[in-house]
């Protein structure tokens, strides 16, 4: 467990933790950026959730694999495998997107498609339905046309190389036969399953359901999509993990 209250790095450490709403400019190798507008009061690397955290503390969960492993020390070695980041804000742990600057580029850890300020959504047929971003940053795909499917996609594509699973949490008022959440190579699909290159079927549920999609063999940019029929899907979370 590596514990630091300063929010930055240290003389013997081979990395630095920085917060902000934009990637730091001119970062050093192994700069860890936490996408947050809340002040980072300290950080902790641990496989277990910290007890009694202070407001603003960042917990970086660690495991045995990561898209951005690094040696934590300037001398000798402790290899750290960061997996995800959370920050303690107003009495609760909040998921945060995090990246590490390595080899001249930013490397994503866990990526949140929902909730996110990076990804926005659109309905590719506004006659059939619409997409709204809710106050809690969930996304609702609403089919407003009777007996037609509506498909919604992210405006932005994302390269899935290096990520092995896509975890989605949703509720749905209909769960009709082709309702689904998945990934596609384009945003021109009209309704069918065959528009996705990987998907999980959406079932009717008022209680949030979590499903996982195997994306380990998709190493290219994709758009995230959702299909609904005669109802609405509310996507609480889509995250990508190693």
């Amino acid at each position: 467990m590596i514990f630091n209250m300063s929010g930055g790095g240290g003389a013997a450490l081979n990395f630095k933790v920085m917060g902000g709403t934009a990637e730091p400019s001119n970062p050093a190798e192994n700069t860890i950026w936490i996408d947050t507008d809340a002040k980072i009061t300290g950080w902790l690397f641990s496989s277990h959730q910290p007890e009694n955290p202070a407001e603003g503390m960042v917990w970086i969960s660690t495991g045995t694999s990561s898209t951005a492993p690094f040696n934590a020390l300037k001398k000798n070695g402790i290899t750290v495998y960061p997996m995800s980041a959370k920050q303690y804000i107003n009495g609760a742990w909040v998921n945060k997107t995090a990246k590490t600057y390595q080899g001249g580029k930013w490397v994503d850890w866990v990526v949140y498609v929902v909730p996110s300020n990076t990804f926005s959504w659109f309905s590719n047929n506004t006659v059939r339905g619409n997409v709204t971003k809710n106050n809690d940053n969930s996304v609702t795909v609403n089919c407003t046309s009777t007996n037609y499917y509506v498909m919604a996609f992210t405006n932005q594509s994302f390269d899935l190389t290096g990520f092995n699973k896509m975890i989605v949490t949703y509720t749905s008022t209909s769960g009709y036969s082709m309702a689904a959440i998945g990934v596609a190579t384009s945003t021109t699909g009209t309704e069918a399953y065959n528009e996705y290159i990987a998907y999980t079927k959406v079932n009717k549920t008022s209680t949030p359901v979590t499903a996982t999609i195997n994306i380990s063999n998709i190493n290219r940019p994709v758009y995230f999509g959702a299909t609904e029929f005669n109802g609405s899907i509310t996507i609480k979370e889509i995250r990508l993990e190693v």
Partner: protein
């Protein structure tokens, strides 16, 4: 909608060797055999465990082969379909000839 077959690992096949389960799905409409057979279809209510221990619940459909390979196969399939279509079009009777023959027939009715 078409029928595909899944084996004990939920890998898709276009023909049944006698041990597989038939599945009716839209997921592969318009897709060639090589594309389909690079996929895994986990039906609703079933569970597949990846070699690293990660568990996936159906219905979940995802490639088990590198998608780039499947995409290349599908593009080649579509290029072939297009070539066949264009060849058929080239062999067909031009519209102008059809119109001329039709008009000739119309005119002969008044002879």
């Amino acid at each position: 909608m078409r029928t595909i077959y899944i084996d004990s690992e939920f890998k898709c096949h276009v023909s049944n060797d006698g041990t597989m389960t038939a599945v009716e799905t839209d997921a592969f409409d318009g897709k060639c055999d090589a594309y389909i057979e690079g996929y895994r279809f986990v039906p609703d209510g079933e569970t597949w465990t990846r070699s690293d221990g990660e568990v996936f619940h159906g219905e979940m459909v995802a490639p088990w082969k590198d998608f780039a390979e499947l995409d290349n196969a599908q593009r080649e399939y579509e290029r072939q379909l297009l070539a066949e279509y264009e060849a058929a079009l080239a062999e067909s009777v031009p519209l102008s000839e059809l119109e001329a023959a039709y008009q000739k027939g119309v005119n002969s009715a008044y002879d």
